[in-house]
């Protein structure tokens, strides 16, 4: 099959999947279900595209779709702060980093082997399904409340902020995280520094 046809098939299937999931969600669980279906399919579709795409840039941007989808799922789960943080950091930071990497490295086009992807997918999916089945059988151990008894969702800002600064909660971790980020920053700069040997002879001066 030619590349064009492949692409058409893929994207067609993807779209079909998204719509199917949205519809199914709507039908079974109402608005929440529809939202869930939309966001989850967005996530999955993004990651599929990431794997599928031949161009690195397009893979990177489909990764952005993944991150967005995940943020949406966070929202559905009542963690608004987390969703915002997700978008800020992941899309605004990490994705940018990846794009920097894409820019700084030469392009490689079409470096994928479909049989490889297919095989890996089958294998890992099979294994993971086994795990999931087990986990599903064991969810009784999870202290999961039935839907009726769930606490209502509230805004998370204040609670998260307070938790960060409360001396008995997460202040230490917070400070350490800050410290870690500083160190990471310095480390990254150091690792990625330009060495004297990188310079051309006339630039050495």
């Amino acid at each position: 099959m030619s590349i064009l046809h492949q692409q058409r098939a893929f994207y067609g299937l993807l779209t079909l999947a998204i719509l199917t999931s949205v519809g199914y969600g709507l039908v079974s669980h109402g608005a929440e279900g529809m939202a869930f279906g939309f966001f989850s399919s967005f996530t999955i579709a993004g990651s599929l595209m990431c794997i599928w795409e031949r161009s690195v840039v397009r893979s990177a941007f489909s990764l952005m779709a993944t991150f967005m989808g995940v943020a949406g799922l966070f929202l559905l789960l009542g963690s608004d702060f987390l969703a915002m943080a997700q978008i800020l950091i992941y899309v605004g930071g990490i994705l940018a980093l990846i794009l920097f990497g894409v820019m700084l490295t030469p392009p490689d086009l079409g470096e994928r082997s479909l049989p490889r992807i297919g095989g890996t997918l089958v294998f890992v999916l099979g294994g993971a399904s086994l795990v999931w089945k087990h986990v599903m059988d064991a969810t009784e151990s999870l202290a999961v409340l039935p839907v009726e008894e769930l606490t209502p969702m509230t805004s998370q800002d204040q609670s998260v902020g307070l938790a960060f600064l409360h001396p008995e909660q997460y202040v230490v971790a917070f400070e350490l995280a800050a410290f870690l980020l500083t160190v990471a920053l310095v480390a990254a700069v150091y690792i990625a520094r330009r060495r004297t040997a990188d310079f051309e002879p006339e630039e050495a001066a």
Partner: protein, 731 residues
């Protein structure tokens, strides 16, 4: 009985010890002493001679009274006794070997003879052997030899006699082989062969003696105790002993209990004992060493082969006489008579001056042995002849030595002649002793030889036995031949025209020490017989020597009382037969003397007959006699070759089988070692190497996992985790 005082015993003990001490000193210091120490040994021997002569005259000749002359130091308080095993005389139930000195008539006579002759030979040697390279060793050797002989005479048991016997054999080896140690001597090989032959031949006799001795030691007491248990004998249980007295008593009582019959084993043992005499006293067939022993220096020949060593055999025979059964005695007579005749015939054909004397010695020994074999007065005759023979034979040898010395070591009589005027003293001495050996009346040899023939006739008249008859015929014949060849020697050497002018010109009389010894011995050769006889020179009985040596006195036990030995092969000699025998003996002796002398005079003195014509007429017979009846060749071919063949066979066994076995074991060990090495290298190391190789192979396989590709690592990690989870879930 036991008339000697402890001091006398000490003197007697000193007699053998002086030469022994002289030997020890001479061996270590002799070379550095002035004149190489011969004066020391000569002085010692002079003292020994004085002691023996003194003891003889004072005690033996001066012995009075009816009791026999018998002294045993082991039975006297304070007498010198050697207790070999324990310090006390006996331990209940065990036997001690007790040795002491026995001084009876026989011992006294022989001791004096040996003392005198040995001293004179020492004196002669100081002149004859002067200038020899090993002069001091020679003197040391003859001193030790004298010690051995004196010890033998004085020993009172057969074991010590055997010890000294053996020592004498060894000393004769050293003395005969004196020139074998001298690399400059032209006859070194002959001397070495001769001394070896002498030693080995007498060794055969020694072994027989040892067997006889052992048989007597073990079997006599057993038989005695058996008879005691049966009640045939009165007395107490006895234990084994070597002492002569014990042997005689036990033997005598056994024979008496058997009514005069000797047990068979006693005959066998007696025959073995006689074997010792056959060896040492050069009887046929062990006579072969004596002619070859002339390789030794002349003083050695004189002492050993005239006076002492050969006499030891006869003295053994004398001591062990009661133990010999009549059958054994027949054999003794036969051997002795045959030897006398046999050697006399050979002596007529020999050209070497010392060789003639050697065969003469063998012949005279045959006389002595035959005489003792006849028993009764024959023992006295034989021992008397031994005494006189010592004197005149020693003198003859020394005179021959003087002749040889004067002719500058020329020994062949064919080259001599007319030396009478050049060496008068030697001539006179030799003539005197030749007359003595021939049996001229009034000379010493006549008495003893006459007595021998008389005893043979006596015994034949009393018992007409085969051996006695043979001796009756053979001995006078041998006497005639003795006269013949001795006068042949005289005529060839001293009379007639000199056959070799060069030797004749240079011949000279010998120096003083040699001629002094010659004169001394010649004197004894002439008058030695008279000494021993008191009374009528032509008479028979009643001489004190007879009394001294008579068998009854010799064999009286020290346990008290007298042993009735009439049942022990003692021939009862009647008065009548004794007188008849004596008359016949005189007649025979004088006639053979005359015949022999005139025959020698006719052929050699007056040269009326040419010896060459006679020998050619005799042809093969002459050649057989001249070649000593091929006895040496027979012995060489059979015994010597056999022994060498046996030795070679054993050598082959040793080299191939024994060494082969050892080598085989070694090779086996090596093979095992190689096998183990193979196992070790291939199997053990192989196992170890296999482990290593397998590990390496597995590692090479496992190494493939490490590709350095992180994506593969991630896939492995995930796959592993899934497997783990699956494993965990499904079980």
């Amino acid at each position: 009985m036991n008339t000697l005082t402890p001091n006398d015993y000490l003197l007697l003990l000193a007699v053998p010890l002086i030469p022994l001490l002289g030997y020890v000193v001479q061996i270590f210091f002799g070379r550095n002493l002035p004149r190489k120490g011969d004066w020391m040994l000569l002085g010692g021997m002079f003292i020994v001679m004085c002691i023996t002569v003194y003891m003889f005259f004072v005690h033996a000749m001066g012995h009075v009274g009816p009791a026999p002359f018998w002294n045993e130091s082991a039975m006297t308080a304070d007498g010198p006794v050697f207790r070999w095993l324990y310090n006390t005389s006996d331990v209940p139930g065990d036997q001690n070997l007790i040795a002491g000195i026995l001084y009876d008539g026989l011992a006294a006579a022989m001791l004096m003879v040996v003392g005198v002759v040995s001293f004179l030979v020492h004196l002669f040697s100081s002149g004859y052997m002067a200038g020899d390279r090993r002069y001091h060793i020679f003197f040391a050797n003859i001193s030790l030899f004298t010690f051995a002989m004196l010890g033998l005479i004085l020993s009172d048991n057969i074991l010590f006699l055997f010890v000294f016997w053996e020592l004498m054999g060894f000393m004769s080896y050293l003395l005969i082989g004196h020139f074998a140690q001298d690399p400059d001597s032209p006859r070194i090989k002959h001397a070495a062969a001769a001394c070896k032959k002498a030693f080995l031949t007498t060794r055969v006799g020694d072994t027989c003696l040892f067997f006889g001795m052992a048989m007597f030691y073990f079997l006599l007491p057993r038989e005695y105790n058996d008879l005691l248990a049966q009640g045939a004998i009165e007395g107490e249980r006895v234990i084994s002993s070597f002492r002569f007295v014990d042997l005689w008593t036990m033997g005598g009582q056994i024979v008496e209990a058997n009514n005069g019959e000797y047990p068979f084993w006693m005959s066998v043992a007696g025959l073995f004992t006689f074997g010792g005499t056959v060896g040492k006293s050069a009887q046929f067939p062990l006579h072969i060493w004596l002619p070859d022993a002339m390789e030794g220096p002349t003083p050695v020949s004189a002492m050993i082969h005239a006076a002492t060593m050969v006499a030891a055999g006869v003295s053994l025979l004398g001591r062990m006489f009661p133990m010999m059964s009549p059958e054994v005695l027949q054999i003794v007579i036969a051997v002795g008579a045959f030897t006398a005749l046999f050697a006399a015939t050979i002596g007529c054909t020999v050209n070497d001056i010392k060789g003639v004397l050697a065969y003469s010695t063998i012949s005279q020994l045959g006389f002595m042995v035959a005489a003792i074999g006849t028993g009764g007065l024959g023992i006295v005759a034989g021992l008397f002849h031994m005494v006189t023979h010592a004197f005149f034979k020693a003198c003859l040898f020394l005179s021959a030595g003087s002749v040889i010395h004067g002719c500058h070591h020329e020994q062949d009589m064919q080259k001599m002649g007319g030396l009478r005027k050049k060496m008068p003293i030697t001539f006179m001495c030799m003539l005197i002793c030749t007359l003595a050996i021939a049996g001229m009346p009034l000379f010493a040899g006549y008495y003893s030889k006459d007595r021998i023939i008389a005893s043979v006739i006596d015994s034949t008249l009393t018992q007409w036995r085969g051996a006695n008859v043979f001796a009756l015929v053979a001995l006078p014949l041998a006497a005639m031949l003795t006269t013949f060849y001795m006068f042949r020697l005289i005529f060839l050497t001293f009379f007639g025209e000199p056959r070799d002018q060069h030797i004749h010109d240079h011949a000279h009389e010998s120096p003083i020490p040699m001629t002094a010894a010659l004169i001394g011995l010649a004197f004894l050769g002439m008058f030695g017989g008279h000494f021993w006889l008191a009374g009528d020179p032509l008479s028979n009985n009643g001489t004190w020597f007879t009394n001294l040596v008579q068998w009854q006195t010799m064999y009286v036990t020290s346990r008290g009382g007298s042993l009735d030995l009439t049942s022990m092969n003692m021939i009862a000699v009647t008065e009548h037969t004794a007188h008849t025998g004596h008359v016949w003996a005189v007649g025979v002796s004088l006639s053979v003397l005359a015949l022999g002398f005139f025959a020698a005079l006719w052929v050699y003195g007056l040269k009326k007959l040419d010896p060459a014509r006679i020998t050619s007429k005799l042809g093969l017979v002459y050649e057989a006699v001249r070649d000593k009846y091929y006895v040496d060749e027979a012995v060489n071919g059979s015994v010597i070759r056999g022994t060498m063949g046996l030795a070679k066979g054993q050598k082959w066994i040793d080299e191939n089988i024994i060494d082969g076995t050892v080598l085989g074991v070694g090779r086996l060990g090596r093979g095992l070692g190689t096998l183990c090495a193979w196992i070790d290298k291939n199997i053990v190391d192989g196992a170890v190497n296999w482990v290593g190789n397998t590990t390496q192979a597995l590692g090479s396989v496992a190494r493939l996992l490490q590709t350095g590709r992180i994506q593969q690592y991630v896939s492995f990690a995930v796959g592993g985790a899934l497997l783990l989870a699956a494993f965990h879930i499904l079980t």
